[in-house]
Symmetry: C2
């Protein structure tokens, strides 16, 4: 049976106001929802079992058959369907796309104890990662390299921000992700027997000299400040990514990719 969308034509409607406010962290925290724009990303979320709370389509968007199809699948999984005039859809989507399709999706818990510490893959720890573009890019790379999971430590940017979701290209829906304070994380990784390897300017060996065949977590510091001394002191290995030119440092996502692919190379990409 075809489910028909609710039609909303007023920009002042409370639901529309709430959806627009989801660009703010505060509203995302209060509602437990986040925005995902575009059919491809929404399909990925559905395929990975994420729950769509509300699916909003513009009048022009709803006319396309693959959008109609997505709407029915979202409705079967319990989503509310809403159709709005193109200009209202555009105001939620920020990008002024008349064919906009936007989902408000339910956030998942980020508790560390939900993750399987015995997963054989490499772990990534991000200490105070502040740039959502970096976070999303790292999630995408982590997904490609089939990591065990990504743990955001202390004050990180919000993985449910529009920018992080977009940069992740849907990998946010795939990657096992958690948020933790450092102390809890450190106890957890010790119990799991994970060797904690940090990239640091204080590193004594290059990253290719690290033994990544051991169960490992790669710990990466903040974009500006790196890792505090007290955190470095907790690491088993500090390594240095070789640099020789004029640049001071690598971008955080670049450094993470270089560490991760070296680790995975040592494991024969298994």
């Amino acid at each position: 049976m075809t489910v028909l969308p609710d039609l909303i034509t007023s920009a002042g409607n409370p639901l529309i106001k709430m959806l627009r406010a989801l660009e703010r962290k505060k509203t995302r925290s209060e509602t437990g929802l986040f925005l995902v724009e575009g059919v491809r990303l929404i399909e990925q979320a559905l395929a990975q079992g994420w729950e769509i709370d509300t699916l909003v389509v513009s009048t022009s968007g709803a006319e396309r058959s693959f959008v109609a199809d997505l709407m029915q699948r979202a409705a079967s999984s319990g989503a509310r369907l809403v159709q709005v005039p193109d200009r209202i859809a555009g105001s939620i989507a920020k990008k002024d796309n008349p064919q906009a399709v936007i989902a408000a999706i339910k956030q998942r818990e980020l508790a560390l104890d939900r993750l399987d510490a015995q997963h054989p893959g490499i772990w990534i720890g991000l200490y105070e990662c502040r740039d959502p573009g970096n976070l999303g890019t790292i999630l995408r790379t982590a997904d490609c390299a089939d990591v065990a999971g990504v743990v955001m430590i202390e004050q990180c940017c919000d993985p449910y921000s529009v920018e992080a979701v977009r940069a992740s290209m849907g990998s946010l829906f795939d990657v096992r992700l958690a948020l933790s304070d450092f102390e809890t994380f450190n106890a957890w990784r010790k119990t799991a027997g994970l060797n904690m390897v940090a990239a640091s300017v204080n590193g004594g060996t290059s990253h290719v000299g690290v033994d990544f065949e051991q169960p490992s977590v790669i710990l990466m510091g903040n974009e500006q400040a790196g890792l505090p001394d007290a955190i470095e002191a907790e690491c088993d290995t500090l390594c240095l990514i070789p640099m020789r030119g004029g640049a001071d440092s690598l971008n955080l996502a670049q450094a993470t990719a270089i560490m991760l692919y070296e680790g995975w190379r040592q494991r024969g990409f298994a």
Copy 2:
């Protein structure tokens, strides 16, 4: 002798209008100038011998001693000094920073034949790289890995855009950079004896199976479309960066970093 800045207080002044228009590619092409914001980046440009055409400081910015020092050094190297009210400086800098310091710097030629094809480092070729954030990030990583140079091939984004300059974190001023059509580039690299290695979904070997100890150019395709078949057919080696998770592909800058650091690893980071 201290050089005093010209004071401009009208937002309608032609120089101010031109500086503001430098955010557009058209104006950058017509004037041969580009904008660099912030003392640190401008210092780097000066240190690398780039010519500052005009240095603009806000009233608040000019009061700081290190800005006054930069102004004198810029003046000695031939720059025109201009002081403007904070709000006008902010309108050029886009970021509303009352202490803004902005330079209009002369672009350099991007001719391929200016580069030393016999340089011992690894080369990077970017085919139709369209995202200035990716381009800037790649320049930063290329700088860290001390590459021989970066060649932008066919229709690439502008390395002199504000976004590319910012993402490069000043590496734009360090890295040997050229722009070329593919045919000229391909002839040039053949003459130089460079093995052309492309990352491609059609690759037969993984990137760690490539012999990067040979003189090499790493060729990376467009963000959306990768490399056209006809370009891949010209390559000596097509390799695949291993991927196993749910993501379709790596971000271009991430893939470039992984290829480059593998190549540099094989060379013992020499």
